[in-house]
């Protein structure tokens, strides 16, 4: 129902990992997270607003991130998200899960 049809659709389940990874660098606001992922991935990965904000709320509920209002670089009030210890642990879990999955897929693809 809420599938965002996009050429650069993210692999399912990876959005939260990407957000966690991004926030592990420094606290960021939502727009910043989206921009960061876009820039680092050289515009291959686009995070839709429709997925980003629900995902952030989900992670707030789970206690992986915390949020507080701060002043942004251009002097605007923005909501900054910070990784919590639980979020850091989760990042580890997601990373190892992903690399396991990625390795498995690669093995399948390389088999001739």
């Amino acid at each position: 129902m809420n599938a965002t049809k996009d050429k650069n659709e993210l692999l399912p389940g990876t959005l939260e990992m990407l957000i966690l990874k991004t926030l592990s660098i420094e606290p960021m606001h939502g727009y910043g997270i989206a921009q960061h992922i876009r820039v680092i991935s050289r515009a291959v990965l686009t995070v839709e607003e429709g997925s980003l904000y629900p995902a952030l709320q989900r992670m707030l509920v789970k206690g992986w991130v915390s949020a507080e209002w701060k002043v942004s670089a251009n002097n605007r009030r923005a909501r900054f998200y910070t990784l919590t210890p639980a979020g850091r642990k989760q990042l580890g879990v997601e990373e190892s899960k992903f690399s396991q999955m990625f390795g498995a897929i690669m093995r399948v693809m390389k088999t001739t």
Binding site: G50, P54, L56, Q57, R76
Partner: protein
């Protein structure tokens, strides 16, 4: 767990979170606009940014979702929506609520009655271990069951039973409480000393009866119910130890039972009123064969009925325990035939006669509820068809099929809950109003009837099921077509005419409704026909006629006041002599066991010079002029007269059936023969037959005529003459009854009048159970018919509206009004006929359950089947008549322009 807590917190901080989210999204939009502004103008950039971010409301909703409990939130939303829709369409709402309230209310009321009688645990510890003992014999004529036992059998059984903790005995008696104002008639039981131990109930004040060696000290003791203690003994605990007068004997109150204790003596015909007085008895000196005790046993824990019955069976076939030929009111156990002992749960036994009835009524009421649900489902479908537009829009906006179904189900549940609320209220009122009118004989209120947790749980379950029933069918139907219609709507196409799949389903539902209604109606019709048959049976006497009505006044003469038969005879003679001269009395007499009374004593008899007849005869003790008073024709010989005194030769009058079966040669030949009553204390002498009278029905209109040997009251010296009913034929019943009471008071001031009743009332009381059954089923059938009529009307009215255009075209092309009428009525006839055929098949399959309630009518009685079916078809067509008439008035020009 932490996340759940955070979500719960959210419920209270919702506004703040919403504000945060709003601001955050606004910030995001602005940042996007800023980055785009480099490529395009400001306004354009903002618009582009908004497009990228998308519907902010939707986004906000989705962002909020992780915080919420989506099921509950959407549920609340759906409920609000449903309530709004209900408010908007009051006609539909009222109809649906009323229908459901009727269905659920009736079901709840009937269930609470059935539960109270059949299933609610009795107010004793471990009631499932309490059983009533009986004995049965398989004879050539079928199974003969005898429920009562002789005191000697009880005394012998008690110590030898291994499967039972306790074995108690009781017999229901009438007690007169005197010396405290008006003499009071109270329901009482004589019980064995261990009776309360057996039930497992202790007293609220004082003690229960002493058992064992001390039992003899309790011969003048009495235990009273909490109710009697409060109403007549001022609820004074000091009354324990004091004395009250019962049946003329002073007795010491040794105990008061706790509030909430209730014991209804269970007897063959059902349960009697709750007993207020308990008298201990060991039935001393009664070594006779007369079996009148009910035995109540408490099985040991872990013992099942089979084991108890095996043990008992071994004992009852021992002649030293159960004397051969022991005589119970129900008949005589034959010697040399193996007797099987049986046990029946106390509740099961008491409910016995009404069990089938209650289950049938429950079934009937389930039908009514089903019919009601079908009606509401149909209404709902019609309404949903009209709401297709709304649903299409919803689905076009992204509501999933499941979401729509859930919403429609919620609407149905809200309706059924509303209906249930009114229904339970209705049930309450119905129970409060109608229950007191239901004769005790019809409905033994064993467990107490009320709407409590158990009944409410049942009612809620019913509500949910009906909600599902009402919601699911139309919801699946409509949500399936809505999407397709959405496209149709978009293309601007006109609605389809004729039979859509929705209409076909609606038609099927109405067919089912008609079928179920017909089954109920046929059931009611059968009972009605049977009732007419029953009440047209002549009892054999004239309860009312040209010379007035027969009234009876009944008294029981206690041993204390009347210790010898001579005193009883003198009392009866004295009162009767004065009653004969009361103004308005055409004829008067007396009898110990009037027809259609509660008592009937029958037993063996012999005829001189003939082998003993295989027949038991009733043996009423009657006064002079009895047959004239009751209007029973004398076929030969004479009535008893004042001359048939204790000193005169012993005489008897026999009924026609005895002559027919045992005395060849007819009534004339019977005169002068000698007969003898056997087996009981009133017999053993040869009596000369001086008259032959016509047969009467003594026990009920549905029973065969009874063989009778009447003997003069003044010649009988047994205890059976302690029961005296004065009978008088009079045109001024009220005054004469008062006169008889006054004469009785004058002769014995301390005597309570047991009952005054006219013979018409007695006969009517005997048909009260079938009348009640007929009324109950009739009422349900009527309710079902009403609902089904609405169903047919609704279907046809809707069809006419849907086919307006088609009918308009037909009229424009020259169809006559009669053609239109025929078109609509023909359609209705199809529906009703289909339902009737199904219903007839169903009725043939299920009316068998009524067999035991039918008198002179078979379960497939052609009269009831045809008349009722014709009536239902007529009602169905009448219901369709109104929309059919409306169809004939359709103006073709208007109908075509409207489309």
């Amino acid at each position: 767990m932490g996340s759940l807590l955070r979500r719960l917190l959210f419920l209270f901080r919702r506004d703040r979170l919403d504000r945060d989210l709003d601001e955050e999204l606004r910030f995001h939009e602005e940042m996007t606009a800023q980055s785009l502004a480099d490529d395009m103008g400001g306004d354009e950039a903002r618009a582009a940014a908004r497009r990228r971010v998308g519907n902010p409301l939707r986004l906000r909703e989705r962002a909020r979702e992780p915080w919420t409990f989506p099921t509950i939130e959407t549920l609340a939303q759906d409920v609000r929506h449903a309530l709004r829709l209900m408010r908007r369409d009051p006609a539909f709402t009222i109809t649906a609520l009323a229908t459901l309230a009727l269905g659920i209310g009736l079901s709840t009321a009937i269930f609470s009655v059935a539960y109270g009688v059949l299933w609610r645990p009795l107010p004793y510890p471990n009631p499932d271990r309490l059983v009533i003992l009986s004995a049965a014999q398989q004879t050539g004529k079928g199974v003969k069951t005898i429920w009562t036992w002789a005191p000697v059998s009880y005394a012998a059984l008690g110590p030898r039973l291994d499967a039972f903790d306790h074995l108690a005995a009781y017999v229901s008696i009438e007690a007169q409480l005197t010396g405290r104002g008006e003499p009071l008639q109270v329901p009482a039981v004589e019980v064995s000393p261990n009776f309360f131990t057996t039930l497992g109930v202790g007293p609220a004040h004082g003690r229960t009866f002493l058992a064992g060696a001390g039992a003899a000290d309790d011969d003048r003791a009495v235990i009273v119910s909490d109710r009697l203690w409060r109403s007549s003994l001022k609820a004074d605990p000091a009354f324990v130890g004091q004395s009250i007068t019962i049946n003329g004997l002073p007795r010491t109150v040794v105990g008061v039972l706790p509030r909430g204790f209730s014991f209804r003596p269970v007897v063959r015909a059902g349960a009697l009123p709750e007993a207020d007085v308990f008298l201990p008895s060991r039935w001393p000196g009664d070594a006779g064969r007369s079996a009148f005790l009910y035995l109540l046993g408490r099985m040991k824990p872990g013992v099942n009925k089979e084991r108890a019955e095996t043990e008992l069976t071994a004992l009852v076939n021992d002649p030293s325990i159960v004397a051969p030929g022991a005589l119970a009111p129900e008949g005589v156990l034959a010697p040399n035939v193996r007797t099987i002992a049986r046990t029946a749960g106390l509740q099961e036994y008491g409910a016995g006669p009404v069990r089938t009835l209650l289950l049938i009524v429950l079934g009937a009421v389930a039908f009514v509820l089903l019919i009601a649900c079908v009606n509401v489902a149909n209404l709902q479908m019609a309404r949903l068809t009209a709401r297709r537009g709304e649903l299409s829009v919803r689905m076009a906006l992204g509501a999933g099929r499941r979401r729509v179904v859930r919403q429609l189900l919620t609407e149905a549940l809200v309706l059924s809950l509303g209906g249930a609320a009114f229904g339970v209220l209705l049930a309450r009122i119905a129970i409060d109003v109608t229950l007191p009118l239901v004769p005790q004989a019809v409905l033994p209120r064993l467990g107490g009837i009320e709407i409590d947790g158990g009944v409410m749980a049942f009612s809620i379950a019913l509500t949910l099921v009906s909600g599902l029933l009402i919601g699911l069918v139309p919801a699946l139907r409509v949500s399936g077509t809505a999407l397709a219609d959405g496209r149709a709507l978009h293309a601007g196409e006109a609605r389809t005419t004729g039979d859509g799949p929705g209409e076909r389903l609606r038609t099927l539902l109405v067919v089912a409704q008609v079928a179920m209604t017909l089954v109920l109606l046929i059931g009611a019709g059968l009972l009605m026909h049977s009732f007419v048959r029953l009440t047209s049976v002549s009892p054999g006497f004239e309860a009312s006629g040209r010379d007035g009505v027969v009234s009876t006044v009944r008294v029981t003469l206690p041993e204390r006041l009347f210790d010898r038969p001579e005193r009883i005879h003198a009392f009866a003679r004295g009162v009767l002599d004065r009653v004969r001269y009361l103004p308005g009395v055409t004829a008067a007499s007396l009898v110990n066991s009037p027809p259609f009374g509660r008592m009937f004593i029958q037993g063996d008899f012999s005829i001189e010079g003939q082998p003993k007849p295989n027949l038991a005869a009733g043996r009423p003790k009657i006064g002079a002029g009895y047959f004239q008073t009751l209007g029973i024709p004398l076929l030969a010989g004479r009535e008893f007269t004042a001359g048939d005194t204790a000193e005169a030769p012993r005489v008897a009058i026999v009924s026609e059936r005895i002559v027919r079966e045992c005395l060849p040669g007819g009534p004339g030949e019977a005169l002068g023969r000698r007969v003898r009553l056997d087996g009981l204390s009133d017999g053993s002498e040869w009596l000369t037959v001086v008259g032959v009278v016509a047969d009467i029905r003594h026990m009920g209109l549905d029973r065969d005529v009874q063989p009778m040997i009447y003997v003069p009251f003044q010649q009988d010296r047994s205890d059976f003459v302690r029961f005296v009913s004065f009978v008088a034929r009079t045109s001024n019943s009220a005054a004469v009854v008062e006169g008889i009471r006054a004469e009785i008071r004058r002769a014995a001031p301390d005597l309570a009048i047991t009952a005054t009743v006219t013979m018409d009332e007695a006969v009517a009381a005997s048909v009260a159970p079938p009348r009640f059954r007929m009324l109950v089923l009739g009422l349900f059938a009527l309710a079902a018919t009403l609902i089904a009529t609405c169903g047919i009307y609704g279907l046809m009215a809707y069809a006419v509206t849907q086919r307006r255009r088609e009918i308009g075209v037909r009229v424009a092309l020259g169809a006559e009004r009669s053609d239109v009428l025929r078109l609509v009525l023909g359609r209705a006839l199809q529906v009703v006929t289909a339902g009737a055929v199904l219903g007839l098949a169903g009725a043939i399959a299920v009316t068998r359950v009524l067999r035991t309630f039918l008198f002179g009518v078979t379960p497939t009685d052609p009269l009831a089947f045809t008349v009722v079916t014709a009536a239902l078809v007529a009602v169905g067509l009448t219901a369709a008549w109104v929309p059919a008439r409306r169809a004939t008035r359709i103006d073709p020009v208007e109908a075509l322009r409207a489309e």
